[in-house]
Symmetry: C2
Subunit: 208 residues, 2 copies
DNA sequence: TGAAACTAAACAAACGTTTAATTAAAACAC
DNA sequence: GTGTTTTAATTAAACGTTTGTTTAGTTTCA
């Protein structure tokens, strides 16, 4: 039936877009990879652009969850929330790295206003959530008066940098081509540990 | 004559690629924007792909300079070198943000092996240079034994995050569309101050 | 006069999309 | 349940554009 096949096309599209880009992927490539007729993509989604929008709509909601509940967890202090945020972000972004790469490709481009706005509206709540935790921590006196916007940039930017290109990531890690860091628990732990260390000392160290 | 016009085409290409992407920019768009005949691009560069490679070759060397001399400056201690690195990177990446965005777009994509390798070989020396300063600082006892590779990721990743999309950057800064942060000295200073603060306390604070 | 710079036009191939026809599934009457 | 009608799903083929590239001819200037 329709729905599963639509989702199959979307998942195939994410894989292809992540590797070849949106413009670089023809609907013939996509149809062949998904094992469907060329016309089915327009039949289901209307156009290539609308397929992209459907893809974003479908995956965005799924990706957004589980963060707000950290905020509402009153048993955690601000530093504890930051730790949970770091863990949640590394897990989520590493797992959804293909989708993440696709929307960041499109975010980089200046044309296609509507798509860009769409993507900004997906990513913005994430950064806002972290910002709010920082502001709360500062208000309660638990955190130093740091530059909250740029601290958010440091957290997410570090992860994005590692996700941007597997080849480049392997190069700076001095690893072989066969190693897949994003699926290695040890590497994920390493990233979490680094980010928690950086943020913790930046936020809670009291300068004399 | 030829050379200035070649460079003019390359500069126009950077502007267009940064906004529309490599695949999204037709050589007709490019020829029109540069004010030259369509055939001139293939006449000068051979093909669209070779134009890209020429662009990278031309701009890469120019972008690479001025960093190694920081390394060789023996009057600076490790912390001083990091400060200079931060200042140099923010200035350079903000100034060359269009070129920077173009090569990061291409770096994200998995196909076009040769181009990817080319770009990795451009970016790698930068990260290696920072890494070496960190290693030297650790060896001399001036720095803590931090995760050097991920500390590099935090430095460059933070800047990249801000450069990725003007629209998104403005959103997290809560600024209006007309503001151009990358050309604002105040914002550049803000980014430098944040990065120096984060790195300094991460690297030189002695945990009890 | 001859080589380099430049142009307009044409090229085949690939693109996203649409059409028209066929098959499969569901809905309905009896 | 069986036969009929309607709707949805699927297909191969064709559509008109746009793509990167090339050709063949013209201008420019030393």
């Amino acid at each position: 039936m329709g729905t599963d096949k639509k989702e199959h096309i979307i998942n195939t599209a994410i894989e292809l877009f992540a590797v070849k880009g949106f413009e670089g992927t023809s609907i013939r490539d996509l149809a062949a990879a998904a094992g469907v007729n060329i016309a089915m993509i327009n039949y289901y989604f209307g156009s290539k652009e609308k397929l992209f929008e459907s893809m974003v709509e479908e995956k965005a909601a799924y990706t957004r969850i589980e963060l707000t509940e950290i905020m509402s967890n009153t048993s955690l202090n601000a530093a504890g929330k930051i730790d949970r945020i770091v863990e949640g972000f590394v897990e989520r972004l590493f797992r959804n790295r293909h989708f993440h790469r696709v929307i960041h490709q499109e975010l980089m481009l200046g044309d296609r206003q509507a798509m860009q706005d769409m993507i900004v509206n997906i990513l913005y709540p994430n950064s806002q959530l972290i910002k709010q935790i920082l502001l709360d921590g500062i208000a309660s006196g638990e955190f130093n008066k740091v530059d909250v916007e740029l601290t958010v940039a440091t957290l997410i930017g570090t992860i994005n940098y590692l996700l941007q290109s597997k080849k480049f990531c392997l190069k700076i890690l001095d690893e072989t081509e066969t190693y897949v860091p994003y699926e290695d628990e040890e590497f994920k732990t390493r990233v979490k540990t680094h980010l928690k260390a950086v943020l913790h000392i930046h936020l809670v160290h009291q300068p004399k």
